[in-house]
């Protein structure tokens, strides 16, 4: 139970960062933390107590293995997260070129 709570706390840390930080890079890092929390959640759901890695070999029983599907999902989701981060960093670089700052309180030509 305590691991789930800690995982949820990590998610909240990420969300807090996205909502309150004013620096573009810190926002991007917070999104990374949010992503890690969700990936960790998937891995926690796959965990079984006292069980082994899910590779079928001689003398291994399926019943003793952790669930392999969420692990596969996490791999996919990490790749997607890499894409998201690259996209955000590229946009941040372009924003810096245009505004000469990473501070979002000075990047606000759009309003209304």
């Amino acid at each position: 139970m305590i691991v789930y709570l800690l995982c949820f706390l990590l998610l909240l840390v990420g969300l807090y960062g996205v909502l309150t930080k004013r620096d573009l890079i810190k926002i991007i890092l917070s999104i990374g933390i949010l992503g890690y929390a969700v990936n960790l959640l998937l891995i926690l759901f796959a965990y079984r107590k006292d069980s082994v890695y899910p590779i079928l070999a001689k003398g291994k029983e399926v019943a003793q293995m952790v669930d392999p599907l969420p692990q596969a999902l996490v791999l996919t989701s990490i790749v997607i997260e890499l894409g998201t981060t690259a996209m955000l960093v590229a946009l941040a670089i372009k924003l810096f070129e245009k505004y000469q700052t990473f501070d979002i309180s000075q990047i606000r030509r759009l309003k209304g």
Partner: protein, 495 residues
């Protein structure tokens, strides 16, 4: 089997464009026009021929407990037709509009990826597959919003990318909880297993999905990114985002999950009602004060999404009929309005309504089609918007929700007022504009005329004989709720 081709055709086109299109964009244009035309023909053909059948396809022939399944039923075909029509006309419109910005094949490649993502989300029957396709659509949407390379566009794209990523993580968390509760990711299987579970699980999953897909659909408390992103993008992309993306990734998935998987629990349909009504009223109030034409249209998207949510929340067959009909109509007239804004921007170099005027003489096609679209969105008979709003209002009255009907009528009147403003200041204003910077070519005019004709033609869908073959099968899929399970799983066992 034609199901995988909805994904293969645009994906193949996207990669071929990046491989063979060189400095000039001619090949890119030809390839993407071929791809969208093929999709349009395919989706229309399957919509007409399938009626209320459900077709399933197992990817790589892995059967159900292990593989990913693609599902096409009446709702899927209906949304696919909508996406194909808008992407086809957007592409026709883009050819001149994008050349005016730059000669670039990258635009067409990203455009086809956007279509791939949306088609994938619509046709898949698997939660995680849905997430992957959603990310494909979102990535290309972020890049396309920033396509014009001005400071405002990067700002809007960054805001959109942050909001998009947060909502995607919420959705992924929802998928994780779903998997842990049901040990499966296939939507039909989840629907089969869930009711025997604890009610708490449904609340958890529902809350996560509601927040995640609500952000994608830009319902009211989650709307902040939409006006920036949709008004900064190039005009054909604005029409893709406002016309179909928020519906394919937002509304369609909400319908699929909350109706076909969760069997429409009452607490969530109530949330639909409330969110819908708030969106209608606040969206239209924010829209009415805008002077930037595209920003005004973007705020109206929030308000019109509210009507669709309201119809879904009423949850009677008539309400669902109104919602589905309004979904289609909104795609048509909002895309048309964004084309109009785009051609005005190209011709005059401004989007400010106060600097326009006298457009009837210099841009006749644009002004006439914009008049049709404005009447349509404001709900004036005989245009399509009138019928769908009327159906939603009648459904609200029949379901014993008179206050919601009143709010819907107020929203409709305010919409009329704000489009009177567009017509009065924008197209018939006193400011006389004598010359145009760029001429609006025949391709852009064709795209506008096609949609203007559809604005009138789609109102025929309420005529009894036609309604039975177009809208009724779609309503049946949604209203039957968990009939979806039998259709998908039964179809699999038959194979």
């Amino acid at each position: 089997m034609i199901l995988p081709y909805y994904i293969i055709i645009p994906l193949l086109a996207a990669f071929l464009i990046s491989l063979i299109a060189g400095k000039k964009d001619n090949w890119a244009v030809i390839l993407s026009v071929i791809a969208t035309t093929a999709l349009l023909v395919l989706s229309l053909f399957s919509f007409i021929s399938m009626k209320d059948e459900t077709v399933t396809y197992s990817m790589s022939a892995w059967s159900l407990p292990y593989g990913i399944v693609l599902v096409q039923d009446a709702l899927t075909s209906f949304i696919l037709v909508m996406v194909s029509i808008i992407s086809f006309t957007s592409l026709i419109f883009s050819i001149q509009y994008i050349r005016h910005l730059s000669m670039d094949w990258k635009y067409y490649s990203l455009f086809m990826l956007l279509v791939t993502g949306m088609n994938g989300v619509i046709i898949t029957g698997d939660f995680f597959n849905l997430y992957v396709f959603m990310e494909i659509a979102l990535f290309s949407a972020f890049a396309l919003v920033a396509y014009g390379s001005r400071a405002e566009e990067f700002e809007a794209a960054f805001k959109y990318a942050v909001m998009g990523s947060v909502s995607s993580f919420l959705i992924l968390a929802g998928i994780a909880v779903t998997y842990s509760a049901t040990s499966t990711l296939t939507m039909a299987k989840v629907a089969e297993v869930l009711p025997t579970n604890d009610q708490k699980v449904i609340f958890w999953i529902g809350a996560l999905f509601m927040a995640g897909f609500g952000l994608k659909a830009a319902a009211m408390p989650f709307h902040a990114w939409l006006p920036d992103a949709h008004s900064s993008a190039p005009a054909p992309i604005s029409s893709m985002l406002s016309g179909v993306l928020i519906k394919a990734l937002g509304i369609y998935v909400l319908i699929r999950i909350f109706y076909n998987v969760f069997n429409a629990p009452e607490i969530f349909t109530k949330i639909f009602l409330v969110l819908g009504t708030i969106s209608i009223i606040i969206g239209v109030f924010l829209a009415i004060g805008q002077w930037d034409m595209k920003r005004l249209l973007a705020y109206h998207s929030i308000s019109q999404i509210g009507y669709i949510l309201l119809g879904m929340g009423i949850a009677t067959p008539l309400g669902i009929l109104g919602a589905v009909f309004h979904l289609f109509n909104h795609a048509i007239f909002k895309s048309l309005l964004f084309y109009n804004a785009g051609s005005v921007e190209m011709a005059l170099g401004t989007r400010d309504l106060r600097k326009m005027g006298n457009l009837m003489k210099i841009l006749p096609t644009t002004s006439q089609t914009s008049l049709i679209a404005s009447l349509s969105i404001s709900g004036i008979p005989p245009f399509n918007g009138f019928f769908s709003k009327l159906i939603i209002i009648i459904a609200a009255l029949q379901a014993g929700l008179p206050w919601y009907a009143v709010f819907a009528i107020i929203g409709s009147l305010l919409t009329l007022a704000s489009f009177m403003k567009v017509q009065r200041y924008g197209f018939k204003g006193e400011t006389t504009v004598e010359s145009v910077e760029n001429k609006v070519g025949w391709r852009m005019n064709t795209a506008m005329i096609i949609l203007a004709v559809l604005c009138i033609a789609t109102s025929l869908m309420v005529v009894p004989g036609i309604q039975e073959v177009t809208l009724d099968p779609v309503v049946k899929v949604i209203a039957d709720k968990t009939e979806y399970i039998q259709l998908v799983l039964g179809g699999m066992n038959g194979n």
